[in-house]
């Protein structure tokens, strides 16, 4: 079985003054379809860089990244855009909805760039919106919704293009604990429906909702295994990383 995500000895280096920062320092890992993985780490652990590379928003300095069997580590901007569009559904901490578009239009955006026809776009958008329980809000603007509702719109948007992977960057970071829990439960349900979910967080409590945890420290993997039985490490609140 071909892994959905495969990092092979992957490095991401940033020059900073005279030194070179190893944001990702030789990581190898594989994630298969249908998994629910949390990538955990504190600020500066390299998890955001990891998420950018997984999300094809950035390319590694060395090493290879295979997404669905394809080496995407050397692709140019436009090819990456195509891969993002087809393979990945993004769920951001700040929701990142387009303020001028209403809910259903927001959900349609990825399909717009995929070249899906207007009627098909609308049909699929309404389907996923009903899946996240927002059928009654389709004409609202994002600012007319609560944070939890906005995050559910962004989940709907991520799912609308039927991507292989849902990539969530601190999806509950901007929500209160109750709505955060609801959003996590929704993600768990979506995973149970057969979707692959990769969740980036600094919060061990949230990470523990996943099946598998990959813990990063200083750009290296320090733990990769089931969420149950993962070493209980005292989470240090950093709050500095978005």
């Amino acid at each position: 079985m071909i892994p959905l995500i495969e990092f092979r000895d992957l490095y991401k280096l940033y020059p900073m003054g005279d030194t070179v920062v190893h944001a990702v320092d030789g990581i190898s890992m594989t994630i298969y379809e249908g998994e629910f993985v949390a990538i955990v780490g504190q600020s500066g652990s390299g998890k955001s860089t990891c998420m950018n590379i997984i999300g094809c928003l950035d390319v590694p300095t060395h090493g290879s990244y295979f997404l669905g069997g394809k080496d995407v580590s050397k692709m140019n901007d436009n090819r990456l855009a195509e891969i993002r569009n087809k393979m990945i559904g993004f769920i951001f901490q700040q929701y990142n909805l387009l303020a001028k578009l209403n809910v259903v239009e927001n959900v349609e955006v990825p399909m717009l760039y995929a070249g899906v026809s207007k009627s098909e776009r609308r049909k699929r958008a309404l389907e996923v919106l009903s899946r996240v329980g927002l059928s009654d809000k389709i004409k609202n603007l994002p600012k007319q919704l609560s944070g939890g509702q906005q995050q559910r719109v962004s989940i709907a948007r991520a799912m609308a293009g039927k991507p292989k992977l849902l990539l969530c960057d601190e999806p509950t970071g901007a929500l209160d604990s109750r709505t955060g829990k609801e959003v996590l439960e929704l993600l768990q349900e979506i995973h149970k429906e057969g979707n692959t979910v990769v969740l980036i967080t600094h919060d061990n409590a949230i990470a523990s909702k996943a099946q598998r945890i990959i813990r990063l420290e200083d750009g290296k993997i320090v733990y990769d295994g089931p969420a149950k039985g993962a070493p209980k490490q005292v989470s240090v609140e950093d709050g500095g990383e978005a």
């Binding site: 901007d77 990142n96 001028k100």
Partner: protein, 396 residues
Amino acid sequence: MSLRQSFLMAIKNIMSSKVRSLLTMLGIIIGVAAVIVIVGLGNGMETYMTDSFKSMGTNLLTVTVLGRGSSRSVSVEDMYQLLDDNPEYLDALSPTVTYNGTVKIGSESLSSSVTGVSEDYLYMKAYEIDRGRDLSYIDMENRSKVCVVGSYISKEFFNGNPVGKEIKIGGNTFTVIGAMAEELESEEGSTDDCVYIPYTTAARLSNTGKISSYTFAVVSEETISESKAIIEEKLEKIFGSDSAFLVISLSEILDVMSQMIDIMVTVLAGIAAISLVVGGIGIMNIMLVSVTERTREIGIRKALGAKQRNIMSQFVIEAATTSALGGVIGIGMGYMFSEIATRVISVALEVEMKVIPTVGSVMLAFGISVGIGILFGYLPAKKAARLNPIDALRYE
């Protein structure tokens, strides 16, 4: 993503900040309106001039004899001989003598123009006789004190029935034998404010007694240059010099003046078009600001799969749509100002000149405004398309 969607998106964005969009368009609006009004003005000027020249007769050649000493002169007979010798070119002839006598009807003095002409003159000018009769050859022979009056005099002083009445010209009593049909609007000082008398009578009454001006009608306007050459050749033979006379054709003057108006309009429209360029720079400026403001939106769109060309076309189309919308408003304003200018000219100058925007100028102005939008939208669009999605997403 189709062009139509990009276009709808652009309209949405323009509408979401109306004041800013309007201010952005202002340069284009002013430029387009100015170009349209200026071209319309030139067009109106040309039409007005052509019309008034036509009413004077573009089939006419005016010969002015300046003379050369006293030894050599040209007689009326010489000129009629010229007419008879060239029937394929020349159709009719009338000596013209401007008589500077005051016209008096009863106790009222008029400033009407008095011209001594032959029996063919009104025919040459295509003036119609409304009542009574035209001047005749007998009137020339007899140096009769008869006259044909224009419709202004006829209507204003004789209730439209002047035939048989008497008027005084320079102290001499003339009998009105005919009244002309209305040419323009029977206003004072217009073509309708005129008196025609036999040229023989006019020559005798005027102090010099010399006839120094002739008007020829040509057979065809197409051969007007040849006709002119024939007259010039003959006169040069008589005078032995080409500086003793002038042969002027109205159609030639019209051509030259039309050309001058064209040049003037082109120059003025060019100056107005500078405003279009300034407007384009304004659009570029606002688009650059807009790209910065919408960095996050661009980041989101790129993350969701927008390619460089998607972002590029979004911004170029937005710039072009802004500019085109400005162009459309400018066209509307251009038509409005043309209408206003027409009224102002008719009130202020008492000239019935219509400022008519040409379809060509409207299309050109619109085309240029769209082109400017694309041209000046390109740079900001390129900047937007090249944004790094990670940086753009982090942008606050």
